[in-house]
C-alpha cells in the first residue's frame, strides 16, 4: 500500500547526512533516495514505464497505427488485436504505443521551453526590482485566462499543428514556472554569498548563473514534473476539442475524441487511451510529490 504524504514525511528512513540536492551523486545514491520514498518509487516506475513505451514501444507495435482496414472495423480485443480495433480497423494497441511517443515528445518539448522561459523571467523579476512589477503583472494576467481557452484561441489562429500546440502550452505554463523561480530568487538574493559575490565585483550575469540559479534547481525540478503532467492532460483535452495534434496522428486525445460515437458499440476505444493518460500523469504527479517531500528543507 502506498503511504502518501504531502508535506510531512515521517516515514523517510534515510541514514547519513543530507547532501545538497541537485548534485550528481551516482546511480546507487539515486536508487537509495527513490526506494526510501514510496511516493517517489511508484511515481518513478510509472513515469519510466511510460517513457520507455514512448521510446521503444513503436518498434514493437504489431501494426501500422494509421493502417486502415475496413474489414476489421470495431473488433473487440482478441489475440490478434490485443486492445481491439477502431472504426477504421486500425489497431488500438499500436496506436496507443505511438500515442505515448506523441505525448512524451509534446510534454518534453513544452517542459524544456517553459523551463528556459520561466527561468529567464523568474531570474530577472526576482533579481531586478525595476522589471519585477511589469514582468509579474504580465505573468499574473496570463494566469487569469483559463489555460485551455487561451490555448484554443492561439492554436486556431496559428493553425492546428503539433508545433503550435507546444507554443500555446508553453505560453500557458510559463507563468507558473516564472513564479516558482522568482520566489526562490527573492530569498537567495538576500543571502551573504550573493552579497559577497557582488562585493567582490562579480558581474550580475555571473552571480545569477553561478550563485542564484543553482540554488533554484530543487523547486524547478518539482515544478517541471507538474508542468509535464499538466501538459499531457492539456494536450489530450485540446485534441479532444479538435484543437490539438491533427488527425490521423494517433494522439490519445484524438483516440478519445473518435471514440465518442462508439461508446455503446465499442467501449474499449474509450477505456484504453484514458487509462494510458491517467497512468502517465499519475506517475509524474507522484514523482513531483515525492521529490517535493525529499527536497523540502523542513524534512531534514
Amino acid at each position: 500500500m502506498i503511504t502518501v504524504t504531502d508535506n510531512v514525511a515521517p516515514t523517510r528512513r534515510e541514514a547519513g547526512p543530507k547532501q545538497r540536492p541537485g548534485r550528481p551523486t551516482g546511480v546507487r545514491r539515486a536508487l537509495r533516495i527513490v526506494t526510501a520514498n514510496q511516493l517517489l518509487l511508484v511515481g518513478t516506475i510509472f513515469t519510466l514505464f511510460m517513457l520507455l513505451l514512448a521510446a521503444v514501444g513503436p518498434i514493437f507495435a504489431p501494426y501500422d497505427p494509421t493502417d486502415i482496414n475496413n474489414l476489421n472495423r470495431l473488433q473487440a480485443p482478441s489475440a490478434e488485436h490485443w486492445l481491439g480495433t477502431d472504426e477504421f480497423g486500425r489497431d488500438v494497441f499500436s496506436r496507443l504505443l505511438y500515442g505515448a511517443r506523441l505525448s512524451a515528445v509534446i510534454g518534453g518539448v513544452t517542459l524544456l521551453a517553459t523551463t528556459v522561459l520561466g527561468t529567464i523571467v523568474g531570474l530577472l523579476a526576482g533579481f531586478y526590482r525595476r522589471v519585477d512589477g511589469i514582468l509579474m503583472r504580465i505573468m499574473d494576467a496570463l494566469m487569469t485566462f483559463p489555460s485551455l481557452v487561451l490555448a484554443i484561441a492561439l492554436i486556431s489562429v496559428m493553425g492546428i499543428t503539433s508545433f503550435n500546440v507546444v507554443i500555446a502550452l508553453t505560453l500557458v505554463f510559463t507563468p507558473q514556472t516564472a513564479r516558482v523561480v522568482r520566489a526562490s530568487v527573492l530569498s537567495i538574493r538576500e543571502t551573504e554569498y550573493v552579497e559577497g559575490a557582488l562585493a567582490l565585483g562579480a558581474r550580475d550575469p555571473r552571480v545569477l548563473l553561478r550563485h542564484v540559479l543553482p540554488n533554484c534547481v530543487s523547486p524547478l525540478i518539482v515544478q517541471s514534473t507538474f508542468v509535464m503532467a499538466y501538459t499531457i492532460l492539456s494536450e489530450a483535452a485540446l485534441s479532444y476539442i479538435g484543437a490539438g495534434v491533427p488527425p490521423p496522428a494517433p494522439s490519445w486525445g484524438n483516440m478519445l475524441a473518435d471514440s465518442r460515437l462508439y461508446m455503446f458499440q465499442a467501449p474499449w476505444l474509450t477505456y484504453f487511451p484514458g487509462i494510458a493518460i491517467s497512468i502517465f500523469v499519475l506517475g509524474l504527479i507522484l514523482m513531483g510529490d515525492g521529490l517535493r517531500d525529499y527536497l523540502d528543507p523542513r524534512n531534514v
Binding site: V4, D6, T144, Y240, M263, G274
Partner: protein
C-alpha cells in the same frame, strides 16, 4: 480594512489592461485573415477589401486596439463578425448554463474536499487518509473529459439513471434541470475537489504541528475546539488560495466538460467562435473569463484578512 480593500482594488486595473492587450494581440500574431471565413471562396479582391474596411481591419493595429479598448472601458465589447449582434449580448445568451455548471461544480468540490481533507489530516496514515489521498490523486491524474465519458457510459447508457445531454434551466424545470446538471457537476467537480483536498490536508497537517495547537491541547480544550478554532482557522488561507486559483481551471474544465455533455454554454460558443475567426467574440470571451478569475481572486485576497488580521497592517 477599507484602505486595504481599496489598494487591492486599484491593483486590479493594470492587470485588467494587460489582459485586454493580450486578448487583442494574441489573435493577431498569425497571418490568417478572418475575412476568409466570412466570404465565399471565390470572393473578389474588392469584396475582401470592402469587408475589411467595414470591419475596421484595414486600419493599423494600434488604432484598432485603442478603438476596441476605448469602447471596452465603457462596457461595449464590440460587434460579432459573424452574427453582427453585440458581443456582450451573444455571450449573455450562453453564459447561464456555464454559470450553473461552474457554481455547482465548485460547491460540490468544496463540500467534498474540505471535510475529506480534514479527516485525512487528523487521521494521518489511517485507511481514511489513504482513501482520501487516492481519491485526490485520481482527480488530478484522470482527464476530466474521460471521467465524464465513463460516467455517461455507466450512469446514462448502462444504468439509464440520468440523462447525459443538454441543459434545462433549473429555475424553469427544477427536477429535469437538476437531473441534467448532476453528471457534468460531478465530472467537473471531481478534479476541483482533488486540488482543494490536497491543499486542505497538507495545510491542516502543517498547522497541527505548531506549538499553539499543542498548547491548546495541553490546556485541556476539547479536541473539536482545538481543531476548528485553533487549527482550521489558521489553515484556511492556503485553502482559500487554492479555491481562488482553481477558478481558472474550473472555467477551463467547464469548456471541455460542456463538449462531453453537449451542454450549450460558453465552451461551445468558444469552439464556434474560434472556428469562424470571430475576433471580437473571442476577445470578449477571453476578457470576460479572465476578469471573472480576477474578481474571484480579489475576494480571496480580501478574505485573507478575515482569517489572518495581521495581513491588513502590512
Amino acid at each position: 480594512m477599507t484602505v486595504y480593500i481599496a489598494r487591492r482594488f486599484l491593483g486590479l486595473i493594470p492587470v485588467l489592461a494587460i489582459i485586454a492587450v493580450i486578448a487583442f494581440f494574441i489573435l493577431r500574431v498569425a497571418p490568417g485573415d478572418p475575412t476568409a471565413m466570412l466570404l465565399p471562396q471565390d470572393a473578389s479582391a474588392e469584396d475582401i477589401d470592402r469587408l475589411r474596411e467595414r470591419l475596421g481591419l484595414n486600419r493599423p493595429l494600434p488604432i484598432q486596439f485603442f478603438e476596441w479598448f476605448g469602447s471596452l472601458v465603457t462596457g461595449d465589447f464590440g460587434i460579432s463578425f459573424h452574427s453582427r449582434s453585440p458581443v456582450l449580448e451573444t455571450i449573455a445568451q450562453r453564459v447561464t448554463p456555464t454559470i450553473w455548471l461552474a457554481v455547482s461544480a465548485q460547491l460540490f468540490a468544496i463540500l467534498v474536499a474540505i471535510p475529506g481533507g480534514i479527516i485525512a489530516a487528523i487521521r494521518q496514515n489511517s485507511w481514511w487518509d489513504k482513501g482520501v489521498t487516492l481519491f485526490a490523486l485520481g482527480g488530478v491524474a484522470i482527464p476530466n473529459f474521460w471521467f465524464g465519458m465513463l460516467l455517461v457510459m455507466l450512469v446514462s447508457i448502462n444504468l439509464r439513471w440520468l440523462p447525459s445531454q443538454g441543459f434545462v434551466d433549473p429555475f424553469d424545470d427544477p427536477i429535469n434541470g437538476i437531473r441534467r446538471l448532476i453528471l457534468p457537476t460531478i465530472t467537473l467537480g471531481y478534479a476541483q475537489a482533488a486540488q482543494i483536498m490536497r491543499m486542505t490536508r497538507s495545510s491542516m497537517l502543517d498547522v497541527m504541528r505548531l506549538d499553539y495547537v499543542r498548547t491548546a491541547r495541553a490546556k485541556g480544550l476539547q479536541e473539536r475546539t482545538t481543531l476548528f478554532r485553533h487549527a482550521l482557522i489558521n489553515a484556511m488561507n492556503p485553502i482559500i488560495t487554492v479555491i481562488g486559483f482553481s477558478v481558472a481551471s474550473l472555467l477551463s474544465g467547464a469548456i471541455v466538460v460542456e463538449l462531453v455533455f453537449n451542454y450549450p454554454g460558453i465552451g461551445q460558443l468558444v469552439v464556434e467562435a474560434v472556428g469562424r475567426r470571430d475576433f471580437p467574440l473571442i476577445q470578449g470571451v477571453l476578457v470576460l473569463l479572465a476578469a471573472m478569475t480576477l474578481v474571484v481572486n480579489f475576494f480571496v485576497d480580501v478574505s485573507y484578512s478575515i482569517f489572518d488580521p495581521r495581513i491588513r497592517y502590512e
